[in-house]
Amino acid sequence: MSDNKNVYTLADAAQIVYLTEENAKFFKNGDFLGASLTLPDEEGNLKTERFERVWLHRSFPFNMPWEYISVQNKDQEELGLIRKVSELGEGSGAFVKEELLRKYYTPKIIKIKTLKETRGFSFWQVISDAGELSFTLQDTSRSIAKISEDRAFVFDICGNRYEIESLSALDKKSFRKLELYL
């Protein structure tokens, strides 16, 4: 509830539980992520519960990848929201980061070797932080999302995604190939 006793804010109504170092402990449980969370029950009493596995979901995967992380149970019901991964403390924060990195697989494009367009498809050969990759885009302009003036995501026909962290940091040749589709 807000400071003003008579006024409920939207946040009050939404009953969002923010997870921090105080009420959440994340741990590695086998191959996945488990958590011990202190959450309010239906009566509003705080109760600590151990979850053998929790699922993480980025609310803003493009512009705030380490903020507003939804923590869900196996029925995809939200247990709580991590406002900032850094608020979880070192141990939990590292586990959460690792799980997010594994779930959101997005190689970063460093250099575009070739980009050829033919008959509505474009064929890319790039050097990324995951090595040399080739992929195909359908409707090139629509498959590239410019997140900011300097950052873009590329989505191929299979559903793979690639990030260009800094358009201005690309070498001239790479940028020239890409420029026309931005």
């Binding site: 008959r119 359908q138 026909i157 559903g159």
Partner: protein, 717 residues
Amino acid sequence: MAETKKNTPYVSVSFDLGCTVEGARTEGKADFYPDRIEISTVGSVRTVETKNIKAYKCGLGVGCAMLEAECHEGPDILICRGSMEKNDTFANAVKVLNRCLEAGVFENSEDIEEGVLCPKCHRPFPRGSKSCPHCAPKGQYIKRLWDIAKPYRKFIYLSVLLYFVIAGINLLLPYFNRVLVDDYIRAEGLPKVGQYVLAVAMILIVNFASRLLGMLRTYTQLKASNKLIVRLRAIIFDKIQHLSLARVSKRTSGELMNRVTEDTGHIQQFITNDFGSLIEQVLMLLGVGTVLFIYDWRLALLIIAPMPLVILSHRLMWSFLRARYGRQWHMGAVANTILHDIFSGIRVVKAFGTEKAERARYDKSIKEECEVRASNETYFAVINPVTSFLMGVGEFFLLYFVGNAILGGEMTFGEMQQFSSYVSLIYGPLRWIAMMPRRITMTMTSVVKVFDVIDEECDVEDRADAKAIEPAGEIEIRNMSFGYENGHTVLHNINLNIKPGEMIGIVGRSGVGKSTLINLIMRMYDPDSGSISIGGVDIRDITQEALRRQMGVVLQETMLFSGTLYDNIAYSKPGATPDEVITAAKLAGVHKFAVKLADGYNTVIGEKGYTLSGGERQRVAIARALLHNPRFLILDEATSALDTETEKDIQDALQQLISGRTTIAIAHRLSTLRNATRLVVLDHGEVAEVGTHDELMRKKGIYFELVMAQRQMSKMG
């Protein structure tokens, strides 16, 4: 278990990403044995025992796919991870693995269907497509287009023949001009008037014949292209209609519209204009070139010498500008989309007072487009004069040599005129042919897109031996499971019997699979496992047309077509008599408002006509279903968008519809299912409870909780 079985994997799955966060691709293989899973990557093997595994599933990765195992006790296991190319492979593996696990039979080694890769370049095919955009030869598409054009080839042959004739005639004109100048205009002494008139008449006749044949050629070309495009559009339209709901839903309606209209339009444009011009220009080039060489090979060489430069400069200019114009086009499309959004959502814009923000958004987009356009025009203004100059270089050579020849008395004025005419005739085709690759590319893009739709796999197809029998009797769902994709099961092991005349209410939370279940009964999709039969006949053994003829549907959103009220009701039964339509309308409660309209049943409704209220639209849908007179009735949230009072009226109308039919109804508002014979409660993709309202209330399970929650809500209301 035999030792050999223990040492032979019954399923093998390849993957290309490690289980840890390191990004680099790493090839590996997971071999599934009855007692263990061996997961091997370069230099390491991990073994997982299978006795604790309860089920296999696909993980929820973004930009990657995961194959996981759920255990009876302890945490889940991540078996392997792959790029999205492996998504289908994992999903298919999950199906096979779970089937084996449930049956307890691990003997048959099954091939896992890999996500489809092009055997030549190993690039993945676009989803739903069977051809590789990278390797598909252009010729293959042209051949298929040519096959479609088979009934109209005679027109194409005739127009090609006419091109030859017209090109031949056009070559005669400069010759007659020379004769006129040298033999008559500049002849020494007085020319014979008769012959002079004959020469002029020949020029006139040749000109006239060329125009006349040109008209005939245009007619035959138009005839061929129009007929071909009508056929092509019909093929695409037919294909889209036959695709399953899942396949059609993958593409936007705008995209499908583009395939049917815009892309076929490009092809038509090519056949009508460019294809003919290509023949004409090539013929002209060859013809004029030959004449020039015969006349004076040295002069001809001089004219042709700058040609490679001309073609090269032209192609360079266009490859440079094409990409830039592509960007300009894209920017324009973005600006148009913004405009469309603002106009279609003008009520929201005004309601929230965001006019200024929207103006700024639109301004920004047109400013960007404007900048790109200005830059393109600047480039064009600089490049075009240079290339035009280069193209005309040959004519300067010609002037010099022809001038010399005339001064030296080696050439007449007539010959000079003839030669100049040929030169101008040769440069036109050259410029045109230099542009040709671009036009062909544009057309080929459209051709590929069109065949992409035509080639799409139909995943719900009538079996070859499917019968057009009218389904009747009990609906029996046996061990049915279904998932849309990625191996995520939406409905799991559903068993349900629906007796003739029963009204079944399907209840459950949003996203639990209620609509999926009725779509499966209507065979909009096929189950992954198990079966649905009606009257003992598997619905896959009945033609889709015959099956759906006996199914009537009333959905939450009523689709009204542009047309009269009458047409919209009669849509379900073409050829219905006015008596039948009015009877259905009266039962559904349409009649009482229809007779109040000035134009009665002839009132035009739909996008450009009279606007019906939500209740009126639903009544039209019910009237439609009544007229259809189906054995099975599907009501999918038929009244949920209406207010309580209107809903009550509609419920009364629905009662007319339901009586005597097998009805399956979905409703969030549980009170609307009060007349149901039985209620089926779905939870987590499974049938959780079945019974009458009273039975389920006594059970105090999920249904009870849902009813209580709604009662609480209505009290609050």
